[in-house]
């Protein structure tokens, strides 16, 4: 074959593809201008089928990769809750048939699996997620497809979505009670230590605002990547800054390194205690005796004395693959499934819009292990009690402080005058 004809054929192929692209561009869908037709959620007709004797629900947790460390137990608790509900007759008389998906500690995978659960498996709702990143990956998908997502972990707040229910604490239910506790202890100098990602950064931004109001001086702020265990250099800075208390927003196994380095540097709970928001009953044992005497702020502790809690602990201990201890995120996951049950039964339907309408009435409650929680129909968060626990020698928590009443969720901190209104306005605006 001659030179020219060879080259021409390659050109033709390229040209054909270029044409395809142009045609694809020209022939397709809505543009930014005609927002009214295609801009909002294009709520494709839901494929959820509840005509049979079962209802399909999706569980989305990282069972592999780095976050499997934390998310595996949440997945197990969800299975337990589903089994319990099924044993009690199911939701609206329909047994739960769950589809477990692996988020694989990969946020695009969370997005992909959400779409799969909603469009291929046709689940009525999805439960799971842990990191804020995973939630932010899921959010646009559930909003686009008008699905439901129940998120069980305390987070940095400043978010709400008609398609997400948050059963973990927002900032005013965990961070702010912790700050109130510190103020009551007469803390004057506070050091902030966190993992380098969105929750600690945001939490600390809020802490700094509130500390200014409380008259607490922030004497240092340090971050280390999530996957790094070595905290010795940062602890040296804590030693130098001489704070009264350390506010710890470190997540994951990095906590172990932090606590060990802290202990090695001669810092003790007697002189400079730590208050943590990510160390719970599950994490504490991995830190051994070196964490004893420090504090944690949660809504739920295994040591809480409520009738539902003892039942919850018993069921969990008896459950296969159980870790033996219960923790706040586990309890929040447990709540999420029951809350969904209450919502559906109040709505009398699995339909997303009907469920959301039922939530709007603000009457949905659940007698949770942490106490009777109420769903806020407007922001989709639940009321929670604030608790501070102190870690004892058994790596369990002795409750040393409790909020006066259940704290109403306030993700945008609208009830707090120290939170600048212009930030709130921009955040709400940016969230659309």
């Amino acid at each position: 074959m001659s030179t020219t004809s060879k080259r021409r054929r390659a050109l033709v192929a390229t040209g054909a593809i270029a044409t395809t692209i142009t045609l694809a561009l020209a022939g397709c869908g809505a543009r930014a201008g005609d927002d009214t037709s295609g801009g909002g959620p294009t709520a494709a007709a839901s494929c959820v089928d509840t005509s049979g004797s079962t209802v399909k629900l999706g569980f989305l947790n990282s069972l592999t990769g780095g976050m499997a460390i934390s998310e595996k137990t949440v997945s197990n608790v969800l299975h337990m809750a589903a089994d319990e509900i099924n044993a009690g007759g199911g939701i609206l008389g329909k047994k739960i048939e769950y589809v477990q998906e692996d988020g694989a500690t990969d946020w695009p995978t969370f997005a992909e699996k959400t779409e799969k659960l909603l469009t291929q498996d046709c689940v009525a709702a999805i439960f799971g997620g842990w990191t804020s990143s995973s939630r932010k990956a899921v959010k646009p998908v559930v909003e686009k497809l008008n699905g439901l997502f129940f998120y069980p972990v305390q987070y940095e707040g400043l978010e709400s979505s008609p398609n997400i229910y948050y059963t973990g604490a927002t900032t005013n239910q965990q961070i702010i009670p912790a700050m109130d506790f510190l103020a009551s202890k007469g803390v004057k100098k506070l050091f902030l230590a966190g993992s380098d990602y969105v929750f600690p950064r945001t939490a600390n931004a809020i802490i700094k605002l509130y500390a200014a109001k409380l008259g607490i001086q922030i004497v240092g702020e340090e971050y280390v990547p999530l996957d790094k265990d070595d905290w010795t250099s940062q602890v040296a800075k804590i030693v130098a800054a001489k704070p009264d208390f350390v506010f710890n927003t470190i997540n994951g196994s990095s906590n172990v390194g932090f606590i060990k380095a802290y202990y090695d540097a001669g810092l003790t709970p007697a002189k400079t205690p730590i208050i943590s928001v990510s160390i719970a009953e599950e994490e504490a044992p991995a830190m051994g005796h070196e964490v004893t005497g420090n504090y944690a702020s949660w809504n739920y502790f295994q040591s809480l004395k409520t009738p539902t809690n003892s039942k919850f602990i018993q069921s969990w201990k008896a459950y296969p693959n159980s870790s033996g201890v219960t923790s706040d995120p586990m309890e929040a996951a447990y709540i999420s499934l029951y809350l969904y049950k209450s919502l559906v039964e109040a709505a009398g339907s699995f339909d997303v819009d009907a469920v959301n309408a039922a939530a709007k009435k603000n009457t949905i409650t659940f007698d949770a292990p942490e106490g009777k929680v109420t769903l806020d129909g407007k922001n989709h968060h639940i009321s929670k009690p604030g608790h501070i626990g102190r870690i004892n020698a058994d790596n369990q928590f002795d409750i040393v402080w409790a909020s006066d009443a259940f704290i109403k969720p306030d993700p945008y901190l609208e009830g707090y005058d120290w939170f600048p209104a212009d930030i709130r306005k921009q955040l709400v605006g940016a969230a659309g």
């Binding site: 192929a13 909002g40 997005a111 959010k139 930030i423 605006g429």
Partner: protein, 364 residues
């Protein structure tokens, strides 16, 4: 190694193009079409890895870096398009009054964004490759350095939350160059662009492989010093392949963003960079279709096998690495040739052992 029938490959690309561009949109559901689009993005990056590693012998374990350049360029543009005149939401909290970081500003422009997707990886790979290859950094050193670079970049992005969105990444894009992303028709369009780009990348490497440069690249891979004694500077040869592969990774990254709707540092770090290689090794590093098909197969495995048996999937992936590399160093695409060889050698006398030739070649 050399393609006796280049036109067979070209018609292969043609069939592939028809399957991707015409058949797939007709037969697949929206969900699977979108997934296929995602695999196409990985496949684009994989084609580049095949070029650099399979043909050039450079084990690029940090293609995440270039994937990130394209992805973040695109994501910044889409974020700004979505935010309009406002500062993107995630930036507000840390400093509500501060303006947009200066390096974001040019990404408002469509032209600049497209240019950045092409030029950033070319420039970075050019500088990096020049520095490393001219100094004779190769083999395992190169692999580890490139991986370290990917880890460093992922860490850097994770820690610059206000500037890059940090660990949470950039997501929630509403528009793609003026098109509403939620519109299913537009999703199909985005898919078609990614698929077409994949076909174009295949055409590009097809031409590269059959060109004199392709032969020179293989020669450089097998005996770098020997090439030097023919008067070429092997660094330049490798540099060209490396730059091409970086460019492809960047294009893959750029298309990943509108298709998947999120980009985070996790997509560029060590694990993600290694996963890209898994597909290439599986399919056949030095073949034309191997890398692309391998990447798509691994992507599909993650979506479907990973769903059915999440824990086993990790084991499968691990075993895939071991078994394929141990027994099939040239991937699945070398199977037909293997069968042919065994059949021929069964019929006639044993074929000359390639292994001995390879052994001799190692030191020369």
């Amino acid at each position: 190694m050399t393609k006796p029938k280049p036109w067979l490959s070209l018609s292969g690309i043609g069939v592939f193009a028809v399957l991707l561009l015409a058949v797939a949109p007709l037969v697949l559901t929206d969900h699977w079409l979108n997934n296929l689009g995602k695999y196409c993005c990985w496949a684009i990056a994989a084609v580049g890895i095949g070029l650099a590693w399979g043909r050039g012998g450079m084990l690029v374990m940090g293609q995440g870096v270039f994937f990130a350049l394209g992805a973040y360029s695109m994501a910044m543009h889409l974020t700004l398009e979505t935010a309009g005149d406002r500062v993107p939401g995630f930036m507000v909290l840390y400093d509500p009054l501060a303006p947009l970081p200066a390096f974001w500003e040019p990404f408002r422009s469509t032209a600049f964004t497209l240019l950045a997707i092409v030029l950033l990886p070319v420039v970075l790979a050019g500088v990096l490759g020049y520095a490393l290859f001219k100094r004779g950094v190769k083999g395992a050193y190169f692999a580890i350095l490139s991986q370290a670079l990917a880890v460093a970049l992922a860490t850097l992005i994770s820690s610059t939350i206000r500037e890059t969105g940090g660990d949470t990444g950039l997501s929630d894009f509403k528009y793609f160059f003026g098109f509403v992303l939620n519109d299913p028709a537009n999703k199909v369009m985005v898919y078609l662009i990614a698929a077409a780009l994949l076909v174009m990348c295949l055409l590009a490497v097809w031409q590269l492989y059959r060109s004199r440069f392709g032969e020179l690249l293989v020669a450089t891979r097998d005996a770098e010093e020997r090439v030097r004694f023919l008067g070429y500077d092997p660094a330049n040869v490798k540099l060209v392949a490396f730059v091409f592969s970086a460019l492809m990774a960047s294009i893959g990254g750029a298309m990943f963003v509108p298709i998947v709707g999120i980009i985070t540092p996790a997509e560029i770090g060590a694990a993600a960079s290694i996963l890209m290689i898994a597909g290439v090794a599986f399919g056949g590093r030095a073949s034309l279709f191997g890398p692309a098909l391998g990447a798509m197969a691994v992507g599909w495995g993650q979506s479907s096998l990973g769903s059915t048996w999440p824990e086993s999937w990790t084991y499968i992936l691990g075993l895939l690495f071991i078994v394929v590399i141990l027994f099939l160093p040239n991937g699945l695409s070398s199977l037909p040739a293997r069968f042919a060889r065994t059949r021929r050698s069964a019929a006639q006398q044993p074929a000359p052992a390639i292994a001995t030739a390879e052994l001799e070649g190692v030191r020369s």
